[in-house]
């Protein structure tokens, strides 16, 4: 049976590893920023941020 050659970009094992590491680094950075912005919001606005607006 004839096999069709894969078209497009084929990453090497090293590139795949680097991509996984990049994804992990971006994920950690986003998680860190989410926590940081949450804490900053509490610090700047205070606990009143949780009170419903009347």
């Amino acid at each position: 049976m004839e096999t069709t050659p894969r078209a497009g970009i084929v990453l090497t094992p090293q590139q795949l590893r680097n991509r996984r590491l990049r994804n992990l680094a971006i994920g950690l950075a986003v998680a860190f920023l989410a926590v940081l912005f949450y804490v900053i919001t509490i610090v700047k606005v205070g606990p009143g941020v949780f009170k419903p607006m009347t």
């Binding site: 078209a7 497009g8 590139q15 590893r17 990049r22 940081l36 804490v39 900053i40």
Partner: protein, 333 residues
């Protein structure tokens, strides 16, 4: 499209070919490898120039500690992080623009863009995103003045220094030094919301520190700069003139080091260090002026270069330590 990106792309292709990598445009091939997907986090971190960043963090922190008023530690940390990332973004944009000359210099040819680890456009978008993000975060976390100053710092470093002055005048690092001198002003503004005289003294200190620091290195690496066509002082005015200017700037810097103490921003520990380090700086600069030939000339220049880094780290470190650890005293005052 930003002007210059096309030229950088041409350079990129040349490098990739040298590394047996093929751009993804020729996607009809069955196994196309693209350098745009080759870099790991380490290479992207290197784009931020971590060593320069550490100096920016320290000087910005010093600006924050001498600022009138105070901020919550979390706000202070976030502001410092934004300043550091902004400086890193400027470094990434500098590497994107300078890839064509970095590849010609031994000192810089292994950087992420000229070595082909990161594609020029990746460096450009990475730098632009971080620059915008850091300014936005500083505006939200601290205030608009600090954010505007950070934006101006990035603009000055990338556009005024990197794109214009660096390749056009031997005064490139003198004027461009303003960008490196601004972080304490940004740090101070982040805390106080204003420009203070004390932070401007720190600006002046780094501004005058920059020429002896870079020209000491340029004396040794003049061949590199000549190959790349960068008009550094030794290449344009000669090594002797550079040595004289190093001595003059060092003579200005030594007394200027005491300015934060005289203005009341620094304590006696800082003053003692400024006197000792200022004297040592003058001795080393005088030695660079005197020793002009042979391998000893390069050694003395590199010794001065290394010492200038120590000089700035110790003085700004003491500014932080004096306030942070409660060691701020004013002997006899």
């Amino acid at each position: 499209m930003i002007e210059g990106a096309g030229a950088a792309d041409g350079m990129k292709r040349q490098n990739w070919d040298g590394m047996s990598l093929v751009g993804h445009e020729s996607s009809e091939a069955s196994a196309v490898v693209s350098a745009e997907y080759a870099a790991g986090p380490k290479e992207f971190v290197s784009l931020l120039k971590p060593r320069v960043m550490s100096l920016v963090v320290l000087t910005a922190l010093a600006g924050m500690t001498i600022a009138p008023g105070s901020v919550h530690p979390v706000v202070g940390f976030a502001s410092l992080l934004a300043i550091a990332v902004g400086a890193g973004a400027a470094g990434a944009l500098n590497m994107w623009w300078d890839a064509d000359i970095d590849v010609l210099m031994a000192r810089t040819r292994l950087r992420a863009v000229p070595s082909g680890a990161i594609a020029p456009n990746e460096a450009l978008y990475f730098g632009l995103f971080l620059a915008g993000f850091s300014v936005l975060v500083l505006a939200v976390v601290a205030n608009f003045l600090a954010a505007a100053l950070l934006a101006f710092t990035i603009f000055f470093y990338v556009v005024i220094y990197t794109m214009w002055l660096k390749r056009s005048t031997p005064q490139n690092i003198v004027i461009g030094g303003a960008a490196g001198a601004l972080p304490p002003v940004v740090g101070c503004a982040a805390v106080s919301g204003s420009l203070t005289l004390d932070s401007l003294w720190l600006f002046a200190l780094i501004f005058i520190w920059t020429p002896p620091h870079f020209w000491a290195l340029a004396l040794v690496k003049s061949g590199d700069y000549a190959r790349a066509g960068v008009p550094m002082m030794p290449n344009v005015k000669g090594a002797d003139r550079t040595r004289l200017e190093i001595l003059v700037y060092s003579a200005l810097l030594a007394p200027l080091g005491l300015a934060p103490w005289l203005s009341g921003a620094a304590g006696s520990l800082y003053a003692a260090a400024a006197i000792v380090l200022g004297a040592a700086l003058l001795v080393l600069a005088a030695r660079v002026y005197r020793v002009r030939t042979g391998p000893e000339a390069n050694k003395t220049a590199m010794r001065l270069f290394a010492f200038t880094i120590l000089y700035l780290f110790v003085l700004f470190g003491l500014l932080v330590v004096e306030r942070g650890l409660g060691l701020f005293t004013r002997w006899g005052l």
